[in-house]
Point group: C2
Chain length 118, copies 2
């Protein structure tokens, strides 16, 4: 399932982690790199190449916040790319849920959501 999504995101030049990061940045503008890493369960050290990639692609902006932390925000291009990504993800979800028999369909997303909500 995941590899299907990854393949659908690839044409946009997005990896799965990229989309996740951009979604969280969009939802938490000004978030710091390590806070983002904590949410995504990605090591601080491994955030560097990820954010570099997004910055080089012109999708995010890093602003020095207080001499130690940086503040992350989507650029306009970043927001546009995220919109495309979310459209792909929505299509993927439809594709996915269409595979479950109708009787179980309404229960599927609520059940999945419940899995990771503490």
């Amino acid at each position: 399932m995941m590899s299907e999504l990854v393949q659908r995101l690839a044409p946009l030049g997005l990896r799965f982690a990229d989309s996740s990061a951009m979604m969280l940045i969009a939802a938490n503008p000004g978030i710091t790199a390590s806070a983002l890493g904590r949410m995504l369960d990605i090591q601080r050290a491994n955030m560097v190449p990820l954010l570099n990639r997004l910055e080089v692609a012109g999708l995010i902006e890093r602003k020095p916040l207080n001499g130690k932390s940086h503040s992350l925000a989507l650029t306009e291009a970043g927001q546009a790319k995220l919109d495309q990504g979310e459209r792909v993800i929505a299509e993927f979800e439809t594709w996915l849920i269409d595979r479950v028999p109708e009787e179980h369909r309404p229960h599927f997303k609520p059940a999945l959501d419940a899995l990771w909500r503490d």
Copy 2:
């Protein structure tokens, strides 16, 4: 979810791929290494370290079948280990399904099963 299962299997000295392989060997005694790899979607080349690991641990046996292929089977210790593994997996499934609200619970496993059945 997967990392939870991996952590639960680790104390048995089993990886996820190990358990999967052993289940399929148990269900298809005498299966060949590359056939197993095809079922698990694991490259032929990458089966080698996996099977070596299981063989060194005394969990499986490789018998020359026809000079080209080998025939795989669980040893007694392997069957015992698999039993333990399956118990852990059953507990994991219970733990998992307990997290979904009761109303959706009966629909959950059928829905998941439908995802990968073509």
